[in-house]
Symmetry: C2
Subunit: 144 residues, 2 copies
DNA sequence: TCAATAATTTAGAATTATTTTAATGAAAAA
DNA sequence: TTTTTCATTAAAATAATTCTAAATTATTGA
């Protein structure tokens, strides 16, 4: 039998995590943090995460999923990826790395380690500084 | 006085260009080809190109601008860029090069020559082949 | 040259992803 | 607790793009 407390057996302390980035540990934010960060690296859209939360029995609106994802990005818990226009992907891996993007399926994959090396960057124009370098390796079905 | 023929003094033959890629040289397609390809490299959105066409006195609908941009991409006359989710940019430079993206202003700039070198690419997963490698160097106002 | 055919354009409706609004509910501070 | 502040939500609003079906225009072949 399940205990009466809402202990779902999460392996990390989402409350502490949220507190550490100055976000109130609400039911919704804890649930999303657990869905997103419990497992290893994930690439997900707001829409899909919302569906996943609902399937997991979490009552949450799509607007809150959007809000929360953006707050997580601001807090450095997630990184936002732009690979096809029209939808935003969120990546739970915030360390420096690049991506494969499958043009046929829309799937995103991390490129392992430093398998991509960007040599010699140009310097940024006028009063600008480089904030990030994104490398997207687009792949598609082999025509062979 | 202007001649009675519709000779607007374009420096290249848009009709021939369109024919060469199997697109009928309609009034609208010729006008867009001229706006896009007359000058050097451009990065533009459908919305902005539409406004520019209207300002130039070309009667054309936004739907046609979208259709035409995609046809030009398919024909290899343009390249579509994805840099911020929500809007698509089209680049008149179809040769191999990369981009700066100014996160503050939304401006795109070509990165000159081979100022960016991508060393060692990983090979594509399973039955996939690499179709393109995009490098986007995101810049923002200097915090200094 | 001209009708017949096929391709293109268009206005407007529809779609998709996302953001905003204004009201209600929950967490932190007093 | 009570108050204050922050978060959530449903629903409406917005933005970019695509679709639809009708009207127009380009090309082809007599």
């Amino acid at each position: 039998m399940k205990s009466a407390h809402q202990d779902v057996g999460n392996q990390f302390d989402s409350t502490a995590l949220l507190r550490s980035v100055n976000l109130r540990p609400t039911r919704q934010r804890k649930a999303l943090a657990e869905l997103l960060l419990r497992h290893g690296d994930r690439h997900i859209t707001a829409e899909l995460l919302h569906e996943e939360a609902l399937r997991a029995g979490v009552k949450i609106s799509l607007a809150t999923v959007y809000n929360t994802l953006h707050q997580f990005v601001d807090a450095g818990l997630l990184r936002e990826l732009v690979v096809d226009s029209g939808r935003a992907y969120f990546d739970t891996n915030t360390s420096h790395h690049h991506h494969f993007f499958d043009e046929d399926t829309g799937a995103l994959m991390d490129i392992p380690g430093d398998a991509v090396a960007v040599g010699s960057l140009p310097h940024a124009p006028n009063g600008r500084q480089i904030s990030r370098v994104d490398v997207i390796v687009r792949v598609r079905k082999d025509d062979a």
